[in-house]
């Protein structure tokens, strides 16, 4: 297991440095130099510019700049946002819990509905129910989620007026952010109605963000189950006279779950990309909206830092999934 871990890390480290190179070059490949961007349309006199360039290290050779950049990363310094003048890392850490809360809710919805749906479809293979589930899953998989979000707003916020249109909680409530998770903080605050408000704000964005992972998980569970249901040990279990629930739930499902877990791990990237769209539609104050706003504000140090942090998170999650996979499936570990 240790060698497996070392092997994975060996692959991860060059990728991490590659990611830092991408983030580093991003700022330098933009049309115009960073200081022109900083100065905006007013411009800046050449002397002051040269002085600032030297101050920020832009006059050094690129490899030295890159070296400084990487050193700064390890010191947790990802630059400062033009717009808020706050360090990028601080902004990220303030907004990240909102995205995590949304993504967690989405993936919980996707897992809780997707796995049972996939199992059911596999067990009833070829039936009308199977076709309906797989048809729905394909629609979900093909869904432009930004449009799906707008439709849900029209129906639930516009026509039925059940849910609010945007934000994380009603402006009526004020309480300290202990965990950064609105659902937990609203409970801790003890304010009446705060939790319900947070929940009603969370529900539509979670459904939107869950749509694609749900479809992918349902499809993957079904095909993994179908493969396993044809195996000899499942037939043996059936022949032993075990109840269908036991055969499916214990013998088949445990083996079918291995590829499903990988699929769930791979959804982290999907969730973060989906968060960009979902948070924009619902004005959800997380990192997705933050990045889109920063790109349109041309606040490029934020984008640079965000790129690096998001890629880092995805890499770490993928590593964890790989390790889990190795734990569940010894064949992988020993290869």
């Amino acid at each position: 297991m240790f060698r497996f871990l070392i092997g994975r890390l060996g692959l991860l480290i060059p990728t991490f440095f590659g990611v830092t190179l991408v983030a580093f070059w991003f700022i330098r490949l933009l049309p115009g130099d960073p200081l022109d961007l900083l100065a905006g349309e007013r411009g800046m006199d050449p002397e002051r510019k040269a002085q600032l360039m030297a101050q920020m290290g832009f006059d050094k050779p690129w490899w030295q700049q890159y070296f400084d950049y990487v050193i700064n990363i390890f010191h947790g310094d990802l630059g400062v946002s033009f717009a808020s003048k706050k360090p990028v890392l601080v902004e990220f850490l303030t907004l990240f819990p909102a995205t995590v809360e949304l993504s967690l809710c989405a993936i919980i919805i996707a897992i809780c509905l997707g796995i049972p749906a996939g199992i059911f479809a596999a067990v009833k293979r070829g039936s009308a129910a199977d076709q309906a589930i797989m048809g729905t899953a394909l629609v979900g998989y093909s869904m432009p989620i930004f449009w799906w979000g707008l439709l849900l707003i029209i129906l639930f916020s516009g026509i039925l007026q059940w849910t609010p249109v945007s934000g994380r909680i009603s402006l009526m409530y004020f309480f300290p952010q202990v965990t950064g998770f609105m659902l937990i903080d609203s409970l801790l605050s003890g304010e009446k109605g705060a939790f319900a408000s947070a929940l009603s704000h969370l529900i539509l964005p979670s459904i939107v963000l869950a749509t694609i992972p749900l479809a992918v998980i349902a499809r993957q569970t079904r095909s993994a189950m179908l493969e396993v249901l044809g195996e000899d040990y499942v037939r043996t279990a059936r022949a032993k006279g075990l109840s269908p629930a036991r055969v499916i739930g214990l013998h088949a499902l445990r083996n079918a779950l291995i590829p499903v877990i990988t699929t769930i791990g791979l959804q982290v990237g999907v969730l973060l990309a989906g968060a960009i769209l979902t948070e924009t539609i619902f004005s959800w104050p997380g990192i997705g909206k933050w990045l889109v706003d920063s790109i349109s504000r041309r606040d490029y140090f934020v984008v640079q830092g965000g790129l690096l942090l998001i890629a880092g998170i995805i890499m770490v999650v993928n590593l964890i999934v790989d390790l889990l996979y190795g734990l569940i499936n010894p064949r992988i570990r020993h290869n």
Binding site: V19, F146, G158, G269, A273, M315
Partner: protein, 309 residues
């Protein structure tokens, strides 16, 4: 002499005929398995209709997509009060006919799909073939670069690339192609690794085939099945991503009747005029769904493992 030439010729025609027959049999077999999947056939029909609509857009569309009918702002579809058959799916906030814009928009979506998949496929095949065939440090370098691209969420990377290149449809297409490329590289490389030591490749090498011939004529045709399936999936992904970029204001720019851009323009009217939001998204969904249905059918038809069961 003459006799031997004519025999050679005869053998050649026989060989040619046999290879034609084999291709025909393969296609028949392929169609048999593909048509077993009803969804795939429906998807193919819908897709064909979309292509026809896109090609014939100026003939089918009732109005010019950019003409603003100032006396018909935000007119609802014909079945609602206040709607009329002149604008079957209603008009947008500046009085343009939504149906006509959707019809012209199909051109953009299909064009985006074709261009993006072509760039990603050709680039991915060449890079993947080189990686799988050359091995060693070239392979390592290429695969690490692909890992780096895959470390970012595709939409985020596309957004950033568009920020560098400047917003617009062409740059959005380039960005999406770059983001989708690693999948093709990985697939091609894996297929090449599986094939490169097979007897027929060794035989071709012993017979004196050069590197390029080995790569493109001997190995590549045997790796095509997964690539075709991936190309279909990428086609629908490209349409979705381009629409998402358009929606975020980083893709096609207004007044282009691109579906995602239309949605972005329609956003402020969602609670007042449901039709300006509903139809462009529905068009995206139907197109992507049709292509994904075809993709599922192709996978079933091309995967020998599924055929046997």
């Amino acid at each position: 002499m003459t006799k031997s030439t004519s025999t050679e010729l005869a053998t050649e025609t026989v060989l040619e005929r046999e290879s034609r027959n084999a291709t025909k049999a393969m296609l028949t077999e392929f169609w048999y398995y593909f048509s077993q999947n009803k969804g795939a056939v429906i998807g193919l029909v819908v897709f064909a209709v979309l292509v026809a609509v896109a090609l014939l857009a100026p003939l089918v569309a009732p109005h010019d997509p950019d003409v603003q009918y100032r006396d018909a702002l935000l007119q609802p579809p014909f079945w609602q009060d206040g709607g009329s058959f002149a604008f079957p799916l209603g008009t947008d906030a500046v009085g343009r006919d939504i149906l006509s814009r959707l019809i012209f928009g199909s051109r953009f979506s299909l064009f985006i799909g074709v261009v993006v998949v072509t760039i990603a496929l050709v680039g991915g095949i060449v890079i993947g073939l080189v990686a799988g065939y050359a091995r060693g440090w070239v392979d390592t370098l290429i695969m690490r670069v692909m890992d780096i691209i895959l470390a970012f969420p595709s939409l985020l990377l596309a957004l950033v690339l568009v920020a560098i290149l400047g917003p617009g449809l062409v740059n959005a297409m380039i960005a999406i192609a770059i983001v989708l490329q690693p999948h093709f590289v990985r697939l091609t490389r894996a297929a090449v690794l599986a094939e490169v030591n097979r007897d027929y490749v060794v035989a071709a090498r012993v017979a004196g085939a050069g590197h390029l011939r080995l790569m493109f004529k001997t190995i590549l045709p045997n790796c095509l099945a997964p690539l075709i399936v991936q190309a279909t999936l990428s086609f629908s992904n490209a349409i979705l991503d381009a629409a998402a970029l358009g929606f975020l204001g980083m893709g096609a720019q207004p007044p282009t009747p691109e579906w995602g851009t239309m949605l972005a323009e329609a956003r402020e009217f969602i609670l007042r005029a449901w039709w300006v939001v509903t139809f462009p998204g529905l068009a995206i969904l139907i197109t992507v769904l049709a292509i994904n249905l075809v993709g599922d059918g192709l996978r079933d038809a091309l995967d020998p493992k599924l055929k046997r069961s």
